[in-house]
Structure formats: structure tokens, C-alpha cells
């Protein structure tokens, strides 16, 4: 597969499969399976090209920026594509068994529309991660947002539809603020390409407002306090595979764009105060989300609030990666944490889905007795994922937090250390709460709907990936170095 072919497959294969799955619903599963295969092969090829030849750029239409649109695969993009492909494939396998069309017409309807929507979401993610054009990113954000909303609304329950509508309103208004920022940027710099913006952007009030607008929109989409209110109902009320995709991947998309904007397009315009503001909000999210998680009555709401908390850690990256020292450490720490959270949270939602489904849809934590004996694999997966969220070695959560701590101490911003530690303690508390209820032995009657083994094993696979990601952290950090933003590599004399 050539270089262009890899780019094309990653974006166009899921799109084509989604369209065909819409026209021929009976082929939905096969198309999804085939797409996962095609995307995996394209991803492997792209990684090989990256490692051998450096950053890969494809000029769509042959024109190249500023007139055309470029697709670019550097270390960060490939890193994000790695987790997208892995989690996408795992959720696809899970969904193969989750929607059983034979069980009722309602489920047949859901399955029929799940595949096209899922494939469109996957395509949107890949397109977002590979794009370097901020207007193109707006279109991918809309594609991503709409498919996420529709997947939440898939089972037609009142709570799900309400949460989906709220998310839609939030998403649309955030996108419009982002678009206004793009308009001002284009006017000022005559381009919308990230790489070119780095050379053309100059400090001034208009660009500051533009960056503020874009950042504001993206922050709300990434559910940073105070823009987090839409996330818990949306992620908790969606079907299990959808919750996994949302918490693991969709919210990370807008965060990724923020990284690109702050570190690649406008590095010279970002003040330390702005970084500290984001860090402060992130710290607030860590504490607030974890406290809320601790007091939830429903399992899926607990996991959703945990997402709010864990996303807060990601925003600690901003002040730390702008310090005098340890920038790249902070960068890689935050990203390794992102990857491990994605796998762990997906595993958590999938295993929570297994447990809830086996109980006929009831997900009160107080009634989780017997979980450990009835669904041992899912319980184990939940526990392993919890390890990563808490940050115990050798999990990716530990590796990420460790790197962030080191960066914090190196940059002299030690107060973030306290936040990380408190957050870990609170995470331990809410994970333990679930497990304690799960391990109590009690007579469990109940409409145990046996779960397909595939559903349990995919949850476990993701949990193992998260729990063992610490071993991969060196390789991941090397991957991230390819084409890393220049601002992170200090001038000669500093240790990265």
C-alpha cells in the first residue's frame, strides 16, 4: 500500500463501509469487521512509513497548503491513531455480540443503525487526527459530534434522548465559537494550515481573541470544568459500546486539536497565565469529578464522573509543558496518560455494560452483590482498569502520572504534585467502592442474561492493555518524539 493509500484507507474505508452498511443493513457486521481489518493494515503501514521516513505529509488534490488541504502523520497523530484503532476494533468486536438482532425487533433496529453510525464516527476520528487544516477540523468535529449524538440516542430511552439533545446543543454552539476563531485566524494570516500558521501568526488582540474563542469551544467539547455538565448524563445513558467510544476517544478529539493549536500553530502567543488557568481548571476537575464519582448511586454515572476527573489530568499538561524544563516529559506524560485512560475507561464501560446487562438493566452500585462470582472476567477487567485509573505500576496511568510528576518537579511547579496525589487517592476510593460491593456474597436471583464470552474478553483485553502500558511507555515516548512540536525541545543544554 503506498503512502497515499494508507491515508486514504484510514479515512475513506470506514466512510465507504458506513455508506454500504446503510444501503445493505444485513452486511453491517461484515463491513465493520472488514473495515477494522483495513484500518489496522493501513495503520501498520503508516507507522512503518513514519518510523522509516519521518513525518508523512499528503497533499490532497495535489495543491498543498495554503490553497489545498494537507494530511499529516507525525508521531502524535500515529500515537492517537494507535489507540483509536485498538479501541475501535475492540468495541467493534464487543458490539458484534452486544446487539443481538434475533432478540427483538427493537434491537434489530438498533443494530441496523449502529454500524453505519459507528463507522462514520470512526472515519471522523481518523480524519480529525490526520488533518492539518483548521477549517477541515471544523467539518470533522461536526461529523464526530453528530455521530456521537446519534449513537447516544440509539436505544430511544428518555434519558438517553435528553442527554443526546443537550450534548447536541452544547456541541453545536461550541463548534460555532470555534468557527468564528477560524474566521479571524484566516483573515489575519491568509491560511488555515497549522504548519503555515506557525510561521505567520503574530501577537495581537485579534489573534488572542481568536485563540480564546477556539479554545473555549474546544474546552467545552472536552468537558473541562465548567463545561463538563453535559458529559455524565450523555456517557452514562448511552449503550455500553457507545459509552466506551465516547469516553475513550470522542472527548480526546477536541483535546488533540487544542494541543495542535497551542503547541504547533500558536506557540509564541500563549502566555504562562493561560497555561496556568487551564491547569487550575484541570485540577478542579480532578477533585470535583472524583468527589462526585464517589457519591454516585449508579455504576455508569460513577464511571462517567470518573471520566470528568481523569480528563482534568490531561489539562495539567498545559502549564507543565510550558515551563522552563521538562517540557517533553510533561508532553509525553500527559499523552501516555491519555492513552492509558482511553483503554482503561473503555474497558470499564464495557465491563460495566456486561454487569448491567446481566442484571437485566439495573445498575445501582448498592445492588452489585455477587458480581465477582457471576461475571468474574468483567469484574477482573473492571479492577485492572481501576488500577490504571488510580495509577499503580505497571499501568499506563502510573507511567503518565510519574512523567507528569517529574515534569512538575523539574519545572518548579510542585503544586500540581499535590493534585495528582489527591486525585489518585480519590480514584482508589471510588474504584474500591464498586469492587467492595461486587465482592460481597449475596443470594443473587435475577434475570441473569448470560453474556457472550466475546464481550467479556474484549473488556479484559483493553484492561490488560491499560494495566500493562507502563511497559510500553518507552516505545510510546520514542514514537511521540517523531515530529514533536519544536517548542517542546529546548535549545541545547536542557534535558528533555
Amino acid at each position: 500500500m503506498s503512502h497515499a493509500g494508507s491515508f486514504a484507507s484510514m479515512i475513506l474505508a470506514p466512510l465507504a463501509a458506513a455508506t454500504l452498511a446503510f444501503i445493505f443493513p444485513r452486511l453491517g457486521r461484515w463491513l465493520a469487521f472488514g473495515t477494522a481489518g483495513a484500518v489496522s493494515i493501513a495503520f501498520a503501514r503508516l507507522t512503518r512509513l513514519l518510523l522509516d521516513g519521518g513525518v508523512q505529509v499528503h497533499r490532497v488534490g495535489g495543491w498543498g497548503a495554503p490553497l489545498g488541504i494537507d494530511l499529516r502523520a507525525d508521531g502524535l497523530a500515529v500515537f492517537m491513531l494507535l489507540i483509536t484503532t485498538a479501541i475501535g476494533a475492540a468495541v467493534m468486536l464487543y458490539a458484534l455480540r452486544y446487539f443481538n438482532a434475533r432478540r427483538s425487533p427493537a434491537e434489530g433496529h438498533q443494530e441496523r443503525y449502529f454500524w453505519p453510525l459507528f463507522l462514520l464516527l470512526w472515519s471522523a476520528l481518523n480524519a480529525l487526527l490526520l488533518s492539518t487544516d483548521i477549517f477541515n477540523l471544523y467539518v470533522t468535529l461536526e461529523l464526530l459530534g453528530f455521530s456521537a449524538v446519534l449513537l447516544i440516542a440509539l436505544d430511544g430511552r428518555r434519558a438517553a434522548l435528553t442527554a443526546a439533545l443537550r450534548y447536541l446543543f452544547v456541541s453545536l454552539s461550541a463548534s460555532l465559537l470555534y468557527l468564528l476563531g477560524v474566521a479571524i485566524v484566516y483573515t489575519r494570516c491568509a491560511t488555515v494550515d497549522l504548519t503555515l500558521l506557525a510561521t505567520r501568526a503574530q501577537p495581537g488582540f485579534p489573534l488572542t481573541i481568536a485563540i480564546a474563542l477556539m479554545t473555549g469551544g474546544l474546552l467545552v467539547k472536552s468537558a473541562l470544568i465548567p463545561g463538563h455538565f453535559w458529559l455524565p448524563p450523555a456517557h452514562a445513558n448511552a449503550p455500553a459500546p457507545v459509552s466506551a467510544l465516547l469516553s475513550a476517544l470522542v472527548v480526546k478529539g477536541s483535546f488533540y486539536i487544542m494541543l495542535r493549536l497551542w503547541f504547533e500553530a500558536f506557540p509564541g502567543l500563549i502566555t504562562p497565565a493561560a497555561g496556568n488557568l487551564l491547569g487550575g481548571l484541570g485540577a478542579a476537575a480532578v477533585i470535583w469529578g472524583a468527589l462526585n464519582a464517589l457519591f454516585q448511586k449508579r455504576l455508569k454515572l460513577l464511571v462517567a464522573y470518573s471520566t470528568v476527573a481523569q480528563l482534568g489530568y490531561l489539562f495539567l499538561l498545559f502549564p507543565l509543558a510550558a515551563g522552563h524544563e521538562g517540557r517533553f516529559t510533561a508532553w509525553s506524560g500527559g499523552l501516555v496518560f491519555l492513552a492509558s485512560h482511553a483503554c482503561a475507561k473503555a474497558a470499564m464501560f464495557l465491563s460495566a455494560g456486561n454487569v448491567v446487562r446481566a442484571r437485566g438493566g439495573r445498575d445501582e452500585i448498592a445492588h452489585l452483590e455477587g458480581m465477582s462470582s457471576l461475571q468474574p472476567i468483567s469484574t477482573f477487567a473492571f479492577g485492572l482498569a481501576g488500577l490504571s485509573l488510580i495509577g499503580l505500576p505497571p499501568s499506563g496511568g502510573f507511567a503518565g502520572k510519574w512523567l507528569l510528576l517529574r515534569a512538575g518537579l523539574a519545572a518548579g511547579q510542585g503544586w500540581w504534585v499535590a493534585v495528582i496525589l489527591i486525585g489518585s487517592l480519590l480514584a482508589a476510593a471510588y474504584v474500591a467502592r464498586v469492587l467492595v460491593h461486587g465482592f460481597t456474597r449475596a443470594p443473587v436471583p435475577g434475570p441473569a442474561r448470560p453474556n457472550s464470552p466475546l464481550m467479556e474478553w474484549t473488556a479484559l483485553a483493553l484492561a490488560i492493555l491499560a494495566a500493562g502500558m507502563g511497559f510500553l511507555s518507552v516505545w510510546l515516548t520514542d514514537l511521540l518524539q517523531v515530529g514533536a512540536p519544536a517548542i517542546l525541545i529546548p535549545p541545547a543544554g536542557g534535558a528533555p
Partner: protein, 327 residues
């Protein structure tokens, strides 16, 4: 003189916008919104953006207005819709919102007015490459050549919208109004073929003058909506397989063109030299069909279900009794 025209136009636009959002009666507000859209289209003409004016008048004002009106009527029928703006107050008090937004407005004005001199934009580059682009309308060149990848994703968004609407619920067919409006059928007999012809014309002329697939698709979409109102075509619509193909052909042709161009020239969507115009027209033609069907079916607002005896399904006013949406 022109300054005065601009001033009056913009003052009316802003006032209409305020009125449409804050009017006590939602119906009046929606009608104000449609009028607002038409005035904005006039503004686009004034700003030398005729392609955008066509799209705004057809899609932004006309079809959007039709969608909102029909939703308003259905929502009123379904519930006792209080025709008053909601004074219950949200989580954030209105005064605070007003103050914050006033601050935002001032910041925006400050930022935008300060862009006193800015670089030229991409006009010169776009014009320079125009001969090689296969069309002579610069906007079409941008949409379908320079930045065709954006347009591909946009066609994907259109498909996503209709897949989503179909996943959510079944359609409620508009009532048969042929009896109450005897002039409707003669009108449709004249207007429908004209609209279809106009759509094809706008598509064709879009390569050199203002126009293109989206504007043409919007006209054809309008024809589709009129057809629904007139009560035709229900049997055809219920062949959902055919409808799905029609809705998808735009995106499929676009993807096929991407792959084809990649195999021929090595870069995605880089048209072979000399044939760019042909490829563009082919993509636009398929896109027009999909856009028209999508916009028309968005108006219908649901899956057109096969009903065995030909009666419209789901005409019940109260939705369904159980929790799911009457699937």
C-alpha cells in the same frame, strides 16, 4: 447612497434577528427568521457573494424555515405549546448573561475592527490556478478542486444527518391537503418541472457562473418538499432500498473519485490533467441527487415506512404510548 442602503439593511437584519428569537409567538418568530434569511441573502449579494446568496436563500432561509415551521406545527399538535417565551429562568440569571455577552460583543468588535490591513487572502493564488482547475467559477474551483476534501466530508455530514433522522423515528406524513387547496395541483404541475429544470441548469452553469451542486440540490430539494406536500410520491418513497441508494450515491461517487484519482495520479482527488472539469461535473451530478433527496427527506423527518395498505403510518398525534419512539 449605498452606505445608507447598507445601514438600513443591517439595522433591519439585526432587529429581525432579535425579533425572531425573542418574539412571544414562536410562529411569528419563525416567519421573521425566514425573512431574516432572505435579507441576509441580499447582504451576500451586496458583498459580492452570489454563490453564497443562492445557497442562503434556498437552504439557509427556505428549507431551514420549512423544517422549523413543520416541526413547530407538529410540536404544537403534540403538546400544549405555551406561546410565551419562557420566563422561568435558567441556571444562570439573564442579567448576568446579558452583561457577559455585552462584554463579548465589545471584544469581538474590537478584535475584528482592528484587522485594519491584512494580507491579501488567497484570491490571487486561486485565480492563478483557475485555468488548471477545470472550471471558471472560482468558488466551484475551491469547493470541488482545491478544497474538495472538505466537500467530501460535508457530503458525509449530509448522509449522517439522514441516517440519524431515520434511526430516530418513523415519519409522520404531511396531511393530504389536495382537497382543501384546489389550486395546489395546477401550481405543482407548473412549478415542479420548472424547479427540476432550474436545478439542472444551476448545476451546469455553476462551472462558470454562480451556481453549483449545492445550490442546484437545494432547488431540487425544494421540489421534493413540494412533492411531499402535494401528496405524491409516497409509494415511491416507501421503496426504502431505492431511497437509500439515492441518498448515498453522492458520497459513494465522491469516494470512488478519490480512489480513482489516487490510482491514476498518485494523489487523492488530484484530477488527471485536462479532465478536471469532467470529473467535477460527475461528482457534482451525483452529489446533487443526494443533496436533493437528503433535504427533502429531512423535511419528512423520519423513516418513510412501508405500510401494507398504503395509509400513512404513525399519524397518531401523541406519539407512542410506550417509551420507545414507535419503531
Amino acid at each position: 447612497m449605498l452606505y445608507l442602503f447598507d445601514l438600513v439593511l443591517l439595522v433591519v437584519i439585526v432587529l429581525l434577528a432579535w425579533r425572531s428569537l425573542n418574539d412571544a409567538d414562536l410562529f411569528r418568530g419563525t416567519v421573521s427568521f425566514i425573512a431574516l434569511g432572505l435579507l441576509i441573502a441580499v447582504a451576500w449579494v451586496r458583498l459580492r457573494a452570489p454563490d453564497v446568496a443562492l445557497a442562503e436563500a434556498a437552504v439557509g432561509s427556505g428549507l431551514t424555515g420549512a423544517l422549523i415551521l413543520s416541526a413547530l406545527v407538529r410540536m404544537r399538535r403534540r403538546g400544549r405549546d405555551a406561546p410565551r417565551p419562557n420566563h422561568a429562568g435558567g441556571a444562570i440569571p439573564r442579567r448576568l448573561i446579558g452583561v457577559l455577552l455585552l462584554a463579548l460583543f465589545l471584544c469581538l468588535c474590537g478584535a475584528m475592527l482592528r484587522l485594519a490591513q491584512w494580507p491579501e487572502g488567497l484570491t490571487e493564488t486561486a485565480l492563478a490556478e483557475l485555468p488548471a482547475s477545470g472550471v471558471s467559477n472560482p468558488v466551484t474551483a475551491v469547493l470541488l478542486n482545491y478544497r474538495s476534501y472538505d466537500t467530501l466530508l460535508e457530503v458525509a455530514v449530509l448522509l449522517l444527518a439522514i441516517v440519524g433522522v431515520w434511526s430516530l423515528r418513523r415519519a409522520e406524513w404531511p396531511g393530504d391537503v389536495r382537497e382543501s387547496y384546489p389550486l395546489l395541483m395546477p401550481l405543482l404541475r407548473i412549478v415542479l418541472p420548472t424547479l427540476v429544470l432550474a436545478a439542472a441548469y444551476v448545476l451546469w452553469i455553476g462551472t462558470s457562473k454562480p451556481g453549483g451542486a449545492f445550490q442546484g440540490g437545494a432547488l431540487a430539494g425544494g421540489a421534493f418538499v413540494l412533492m411531499l406536500l402535494g401528496g405524491f410520491g409516497r409509494r415511491a418513497l416507501r421503496h426504502r432500498y431505492r431511497m437509500r441508494v439515492a441518498l448515498s450515491c453522492g458520497l459513494l461517487v465522491f469516494i470512488a473519485a478519490s480512489v480513482g484519482t489516487m490510482l491514476l495520479t498518485g494523489e487523492i482527488l488530484r484530477y488527471p490533467a485536462g479532465f478536471a472539469g469532467h470529473w467535477i461535473l460527475a461528482i457534482e451530478a451525483a452529489a446533487l441527487i443526494s443533496i436533493a433527496c437528503t433535504l427533502g427527506l429531512l423535511y419528512l423527518g423520519g423513516r418513510p415506512e412501508e405500510a401494507g395498505d398504503g395509509t400513512p403510518v404513525n399519524r397518531s398525534v401523541n406519539g407512542s404510548k410506550n417509551g420507545s419512539m414507535g419503531r
